[in-house]
């Protein structure tokens, strides 16, 4: 048994801790999109209920979850709900919430923030605090002209809603050029900001569109009927890192040269990219892909590389890892990324795929989920840590995995020599939680394999024996570090 919480821990405390963990797990995994087992609507309903429930009952913890590795969809939802119901918080709470919101917004991708601002506008949330948050966030944007081009409607909407003065960073004396660009582009013969002027020229000068950001230029290229190959090759220098990765295969079919440094990509994205390739391609580029995945994993592991001792992993590549049309092969991508990350973290590493295949790079979703049998294989090697990455639909035979883990804990390893943790990439809308395998094994949601070390830490709270006080302490610690990072300007997250 782990340390029991102090006697003061009441039943209500345990319930509260469980509720909050439930919510955090949901907020990490669910993106409101369709999953393999449940539809989009069910996911939305389920998630909305959880948000309302936790916000009303545990508002400080609800705000504090912004500091955790929850996904962007939920971060935006939390911010929106906090701002919509600002009246329910007292002054001190509002101050903390404001700092958390600002710090989180700084890490969110810009399109998502603009979408959030538009949602706030639609919900008619326009108090002083909201306007201040919008103003501060916009002021921190590195290049307002770029935003005006790429996120034109979003910026327009925000400026209107919060009554913000628009200034370009380039000209010292501001002559309202940005405002004109957004609201009355016909008013000026030319712009002094190069980017804005390029946009104006792109309307009649083909060369100018290659000075624009990729997404904006794409529209112009389509209108002019520019050959896709030529366009891709010439716009390549203007693409962002993820745009390059996303367009790799498209460029390949058009035989265009769009170079991408795969080793610099985030691990889970890279795994998704690899799984998107055909098996033949993966075989042909085996060295390159494996190298890139290993490099990304080593970078993610950082100082912890090689410190985890003997690690066994049970990874789910059953048919349900297909995900859905919106989250194509996401569960499998997470499993693949975890595989490479664990390989980097472990001293000795034993990966076991549920299908029984050995070659991780050639993984594809196939067959049933004999999780129990694979767990037996893993436990036979007596590892120090056992990590299970699965959606928890154990069906060959159903419930064997849970029984194996229970029997292992009660009869064979009551001291807990083997630390077992289950990471689940899929939110189960019907249960309001990620699906668990067994009560004796902590389960945590996972969205990006990069968060694995932090999640393994969080998962120990999910054993149901730690009270609210400990969880609160952990959250406070995370919040403190989160705000410190934001204070020192740790740049945008992925």
């Amino acid at each position: 048994m782990a340390t029991r919480a102090e006697p003061a821990t009441t039943h209500a405390d345990l319930v509260a801790a469980e509720d909050v963990l439930l919510f955090v797990n949901a907020a990490i995994t669910s993106t409101g999109q369709r999953e393999f087992h449940s539809g989009e609507h069910a996911q939305h309903m389920s998630l909305d209920f959880l948000h309302a429930y936790v916000r009303v009952n545990y508002r400080p913890l609800y705000a504090a979850s912004l500091a955790l590795d929850i996904n962007d969809h939920n971060a935006a939802l939390i911010v929106r709900h906090l701002l919509e119901t600002a009246g329910e918080a007292d002054a001190e709470q509002r101050r903390v919430e404001g700092r958390l919101i600002a710090a989180r917004l700084a890490r969110l991708p810009a399109p998502r923030v603009y979408r959030l601002f538009r949602a706030l506008r639609a919900a008619r949330v326009n108090n002083r605090r909201t306007r201040a948050i919008m103003r501060d966030w916009l002021a921190a944007r590195p290049d307002p002209a770029l935003d005006a081009l790429k996120y034109r409607t979003g910026l327009k909407c925000t400026a209107r809603h919060a009554h913000l003065p628009l200034t370009t960073r380039t000209g010292q004396e501001d002559d309202g050029e940005l405002g004109d660009f957004l609201f009355a582009p016909g008013r000026r013969k030319h712009f002094t900001t190069p980017l804005l002027d390029a946009w104006r020229r792109a309307h009649y000068e083909q060369g100018a569109l290659y000075e624009l950001p990729f997404t904006v230029a794409e529209g112009f290229a389509a209108r002019r009927g520019i050959d896709r190959r030529t366009f891709l090759e010439r716009i390549a220098p203007r693409m962002t890192r993820l745009e390059r990765l996303r367009l790799q295969e498209s460029a390949r079919t058009h035989r265009a040269e769009v170079g991408a440094d795969l080793t610099g990509m985030p691990l889970t994205r890279l795994a998704s990219y690899v799984l998107g390739l055909s098996l033949d391609d993966r075989v042909a580029r085996r060295a390159e892909l494996t190298g890139a995945l290993r490099a990304a994993a080593r970078r993610t592991a950082g100082g912890q590389a090689g410190t985890w001792g003997r690690v066994a992993a049970v990874l789910d590549d059953s048919f349900s890892a297909t995900g859905s049309r919106q989250k194509r092969q996401r569960p499998l991508a997470v499993a693949l990324a975890c595989h490479f990350l664990l390989e980097a973290l472990a001293g000795t590493y034993l990966p076991l795929w549920t299908s029984g295949r050995q070659d991780a790079l050639l993984a594809y979703p196939y067959g049933a989920t004999p999780l129990g049998m694979r767990l037996l294989d893993a436990l036979e090697s007596a590892p120090e840590r056992l990590v299970i990455v699965s959606d928890g639909w154990d069906n060959a035979p159903p419930g064997l995995a849970g029984e194996v883990l229970r029997a292992w804990r009660t009869s064979l390893d009551p001291r807990g020599r083997t630390a077992v943790v289950h990471l689940n990439p899929v939110y189960d809308a019907d249960d309001f939680a990620v699906r668990r395998l067994s009560a004796s094994v902590p389960t945590a949601g996972v969205r990006n394999a990069e968060d694995l070390p932090a999640l393994v830490q969080l998962a120990r709270f999910a054993e149901g024996r730690t009270g609210l006080a400990e969880l609160r302490a952990h959250l406070d610690d995370r919040v403190r570090r989160f705000l410190e990072d934001a204070g020192t300007g740790r740049g945008e997250a992925r």
């Binding site: 067959g367 049998m373 069906n395 292992w408």
Partner: protein, 388 residues
């Protein structure tokens, strides 16, 4: 009368979704010399049939008689026997053996159809085409179709002249059975799977077996287009929303090592297979059926079977392809509702006693008016005269 011989097929762990339970059937050694694949009929694709438009097919069956059916999809069976080389549809055959020469057709009606000898497979027959469940349903619908052979006075003029025509039964498409489409979508097909038993609210709705795992993988989605009985549709709609999963239980007390744990897991799996065989699939496997051969193809026989129509028991009609030893290579069944079983039962009894109401009633231990009432209630009211 004979039973279904399911040798070579083993039961896998069930997967439950809502009220639908799907039990996979696995073959350790798939059959390679018989292959099934699916043919979707759309406009004009059903080459060889006399008139086709948009999946509806009409076959002239003699003067002033036409046989019309709507066909969403059909199955094509390819096989090899001894002789020259065989080729079919890109399916791979184990050894270089060849198809039999054209087997003679002795069909009461043309329920199966030779594939046209198109250029795609050179000479030799390229396969047999048949419609899933069509044989089985036809067997049931045609049961004592001719009506009374002796003009007993109780029977109406129409009954003697036209028999049971027209005879109709209702069936529902799989998509209409609640939860079935989802259950099939999320079902995780096992690598060696060659068949499935479909339960709705834990009533066996259909059994489906094919010769090869690749065929199963290709034909799995076709289950949602198949016919299901009225009863199954009702169970899906009004039955329980969920059926309980049967999770494995292991008692930790007797576990001393990982090997023990593994042994216990394997034991549980075997127990489940046995229990399933006895408790759940018993109604299908224990029953003895009257089997009627419809077609021979090499060492395989295509036949349909009817249950004994015993009252108050779940019964299935179906069609199958068996190999030389009588083992099932292909199987498709349809669950009859109680009323359908009663219909079959009464028709069977009547036929056994030459459609003599008095003798039949005496054999069934009821009075003649009671028997007449039953016949009317079963939907044959035009057959018996009103005063009986």
């Amino acid at each position: 009368m004979s039973r279904l011989d399911m040798e070579g097929l083993s039961t896998g762990p069930a997967q439950v979704w809502g009220a639908v339970r799907l039990v996979p059937l696995m073959r350790a050694e798939p059959l390679t010399d018989l292959r099934l694949h699916r043919e979707i009929y759309d406009k004009g694709a059903a080459g060889g049939t006399p008139s086709t438009s948009g999946g509806a097919t009409t076959v002239a069956a003699g003067r002033r008689t036409a046989y019309t059916s709507y066909i969403p999809h059909g199955f094509v069976a390819n096989w090899t026997g001894e002789g020259g080389p065989a080729a079919a549809y890109g399916s791979q055959f184990g050894d270089g053996r060849a198809p039999v020469e054209c087997a003679p057709l002795h069909l009461p009606r043309k329920l199966t159809q030779r594939m046209p000898r198109s250029g795609r497979s050179g000479d030799g027959p390229s396969g047999l085409r048949f419609l899933p469940l069509h044989l089985a349903l036809d067997g049931y619908l045609a049961l004592h179709f001719g009506g009374p052979p002796i003009v007993w006075e109780e029977w109406t003029r129409r009954a003697v002249r036209d028999g049971l025509s027209p005879r109709a039964e209702t069936a529902y498409r799989g998509g209409r059975v609640r939860g079935l489409a989802d259950a099939l979508r999320i079902f995780e097909i096992h690598p060696a799977q060659c068949g499935v038993l479909v339960y709705v609210a834990d009533a066996l709705a259909a059994a489906f077996v094919v010769p090869h795992p690749d065929d199963y993988r290709a034909l799995h989605p076709s289950l949602v287009h198949d016919l299901y009985g009225e009863l199954i549709h009702q169970y899906g709609r009004y039955g329980p929303r969920t059926v309980p999963d049967v999770p494995v239980r292991i008692d930790p007390e007797y576990i001393a090592s990982v090997a023990d744990l593994r042994a216990a897991a394997v034991r549980r799996q075997r127990e489940w297979a046995e229990q399933h065989h006895d408790l759940m699939a018993g109604e299908l496997l224990d029953e003895s059926y009257s089997v009627r051969q419809v077609h021979r193809m090499g060492r395989f026989r295509l036949s349909r079977f009817l249950p004994p129509f015993a009252l108050h028991r779940a019964q299935h009609i179906g069609e199958m392809i068996t190999d030389g030893k009588g083992r099932v290579a292909y199987l498709k069944t349809f669950r009859l509702s109680d009323k359908q079983v009663r219909r079959g039962h009464v028709l069977d009894r009547l036929a056994a006693h030459d459609w003599h109401l008095g003798a039949t009633a005496a054999a069934m231990g009821i009075t003649v008016p009671e028997l007449a009432r039953r016949i009317r209630q079963l939907g044959f009211e035009e057959l018996v005269k009103a005063h009986i």
